[in-house]
């Protein structure tokens, strides 16, 4: 018995829950009810994508406490990296994805360095301004396709071209891989020294510095990491949509979506982005499918009200609700035991 409990220590129950969850996700396309219905698979792909994207934001916004509204820029750079590799240069998207990720990290460091001197709302508004600048520049920049954007040609499907036409199952597994990469990385960061540095900077920059943490370096590295992951998600987004133009990826609404999902789920927690995406994305997709035809806007009207309600009622996010329920249950249990 003793030996067994020692063995279990290397694998916490939390990790086992995660592995079981992943196994379930791998099995999803084989569940006939979902596999037969491409809309359900589409919703699942978007959940995985936006959970990953929000997790990327969570690195800098949640763990490191720098609330950036500029992540659609990095998302867009990734999208354009893959898009231009395929459309402009007629290659496979892979080199474009890598270049996009590196470029996003470099751009993130360059623009964040001066921005990190700003505090609170000034930082937030500076990131709005950056999104708008990138949006306008890409709109008139002919080399990246300008306002027309990039339209994918129909080419052979498969993993090489990262493109599937017959079914969405291929996209689903790629989204799952991205999800595992980003969530795995953040899980690893949580226990790593750097993860503690980030949280220390979030809780109090001066205190962290007095203990010898180089807060500027921590923030810049976190931002670069976050931007590279955002670019990875962006490149998947464009491969999935087979089209990209500036308002589609580099808009304030896109940035807000990443922030909303993370805050809704619970910022600075590993499961938060997944929780947030699992609620917000089906809400968005199903409300659009159901009310989208009713003379536009009804889905977004309801969406707006729900955002207000959720943000105002539970600012800690869904994870806060789960925590409350757990606390309530354990209280009840102790009462029964007494």
């Amino acid at each position: 018995m003793v030996g067994r409990s020692v063995e279990l220590k290397t694998f916490s129950s939390r990790d086992i829950a995660w592995l079981a969850f992943l196994a379930l996700l791998v099995a999803v396309p084989f569940i006939p009810a979902i596999a037969a219905n491409s809309f359900r698979l589409h919703v699942l792909i978007l959940i995985l994508l936006f959970a990953s994207m929000s997790q990327a934001w969570n690195i800098i916004g949640g763990y490191c406490g720098q609330v950036s509204f500029g992540h659609s820029v990095f998302f867009g750079i990734g999208a354009y990296g893959a898009g231009m590799a395929v459309v402009t240069y007629g290659m496979v998207p892979w080199p474009g994805i890598v270049v996009g990720m590196i470029l996003a990290a470099v751009v993130a460091v360059i623009i964040s360095y001066p921005c990190f001197k700003l505090s609170g709302h000034y930082f937030a508004i500076a990131t709005f301004a950056i999104v708008e600048i990138f949006n306008r520049v890409f709109l008139v920049w002919d080399w990246v396709g300008g306002a027309l954007g990039l339209d994918y040609p129909i080419i052979k499907e498969g993993i090489g071209n990262l493109m599937w036409h017959q079914s969405k199952v291929g996209y689903y597994y790629i989204a799952l891989v991205i999800f595992v990469i980003i969530f795995g990385m953040v899980r690893w960061l949580e226990g790593h020294r750097f993860g503690y540095y980030m949280r220390a900077v979030r809780e109090g920059q001066e205190t962290a510095e007095s203990l010898g943490v180089n807060s500027t370096a921590v923030k810049l590295i976190a931002m670069a990491l976050s931007a590279a992951m955002a670019a990875l998600c962006g490149s998947f987004f464009v491969q999935y949509n087979l089209r990209v133009d500036p308002p589609m990826v580099m808009s304030l609404d896109m940035s807000m979506k990443f922030v909303l999902i993370t805050i809704l789920g619970g910022a600075g927690t590993l499961v938060g982005p997944l929780l947030g995406a699992s609620v917000l994305i089906p809400l968005q997709e199903y409300s659009r499918a159901i009310w989208g035809g009713l003379g536009g806007g009804v889905d977004l009207i309801i969406f707006g009200i729900l955002i207000i309600l959720m943000v105002v009622k539970q600012p800690d996010g869904l994870i806060g609700i789960i925590r409350d329920v757990r606390r309530w249950l354990s209280k009840k249990r102790t009462k029964e035991e007494l």
Binding site: I125, A126, A129
Partner: protein, 286 residues
């Protein structure tokens, strides 16, 4: 040279309207430390109020701007009562995201009710009239809006700085608990501040349909520009917001004319970044 002065004047006229939109936001930000993301949507709603009054009851925007101001005052007070009240004391991001939800709601409600079509008011009292001063041409609708904006910002400044009510607002902004100790009803101040901030943008939106088309997306860019003006001016400083409003208007006009129309917002946002990197708390910030 004449062209330059012409562009400069056009920029200043639109700058004054930006200043009025920003002044309302500035008051709310300064007193409650809340960024109202739905500020641009208030403007859009005010424009619809003015448009429909003109279309259905034949009221000129110059008159209905008062009604629009009163209407947005109520919407502002209601926003406080229903949403902002619950976010006070929580992290600043909560109010921002909640008002973002409100912005989506208002924008799509108008989209749903009034369709996304551009609506233009024709034959108002001022439409198409111009003033010729020397070689310069000044459009009368824009001039009226600018003068109105100047008056309202001036009144707002006087209200905050030289009335008893204004001192109560300032006291609440500095320290809510201390203000309550000396007998100020801070809850009422908050409601009125949100209402007055709304009324400013309501007046601006009310007069605008005489020269600008109304559509559900019209407010977004004005809202963003108002954020820029307020942050550039410095935390809660009405003169700061006014000056940066003018600056934004002038830069926008010059960049639009001398570089390319698409670059006018790049120039405006670039200006903000340049100013904020030099003075991280804005021109008048401390």
């Amino acid at each position: 040279m004449e062209t330059f002065i012409q562009v400069l004047i056009d920029g200043m006229l639109s700058g004054m309207v930006y200043a009025l939109v920003a002044a309302g936001l500035c008051l709310i930000w300064g007193v409650m430390d809340v960024i109202n993301f739905a500020h641009g949507e208030y403007l859009m709603v005010a424009m619809y109020v003015s448009y429909w009054l003109g279309f259905l009851a034949n009221v000129d925007p110059v008159v209905s701007t008062v009604a629009a101001g009163a209407f947005i005052f109520m919407i502002g007070a209601l926003t406080y009562k229903l949403i902002i009240r619950f976010t006070i004391g929580k992290p600043g991001l909560v109010a921002l995201l909640a008002t973002f939800g409100l912005a989506i709601f208002l924008k799509n409600l108008c989209m749903n009710q009034f369709s996304p079509n551009f609506r233009i008011m024709s034959d108002t009292w001022l439409s198409g009239k111009t003033l010729h001063v020397g070689g310069l041409i000044i459009a009368l609708p824009q001039l009226t809006a600018a003068v109105l904006a100047l008056i309202v910002v001036g009144l707002l400044y006087l209200l905050v700085n030289s009335t008893k009510f204004g001192w109560a607002i300032q006291a609440t902004a500095m320290d809510r608990e201390a203000a309550e100790l000396v007998g100020i009803n801070t809850e009422r101040i908050y409601i009125l501040v949100f209402g007055i901030g709304g009324a400013c943008v309501g007046v601006a939106g009310g007069i605008m349909p005489s020269y600008l088309a109304v559509h559900p997306e019209v407010g977004s860019m004005f809202g963003l520009i108002a954020f820029i003006c307020v942050a550039m001016g410095g935390f809660g400083s009405i003169p700061g917001a006014f000056i940066s409003g003018l600056l934004v208007g002038v830069v926008e006009a010059l960049a639009g004319f001398y570089i390319a129309p698409v670059f006018k917002y790049v120039a405006v946002f670039g200006l903000y970044l340049a100013v904020i990197f030099l003075r991280p708390k804005g021109i008048f910030g401390w």
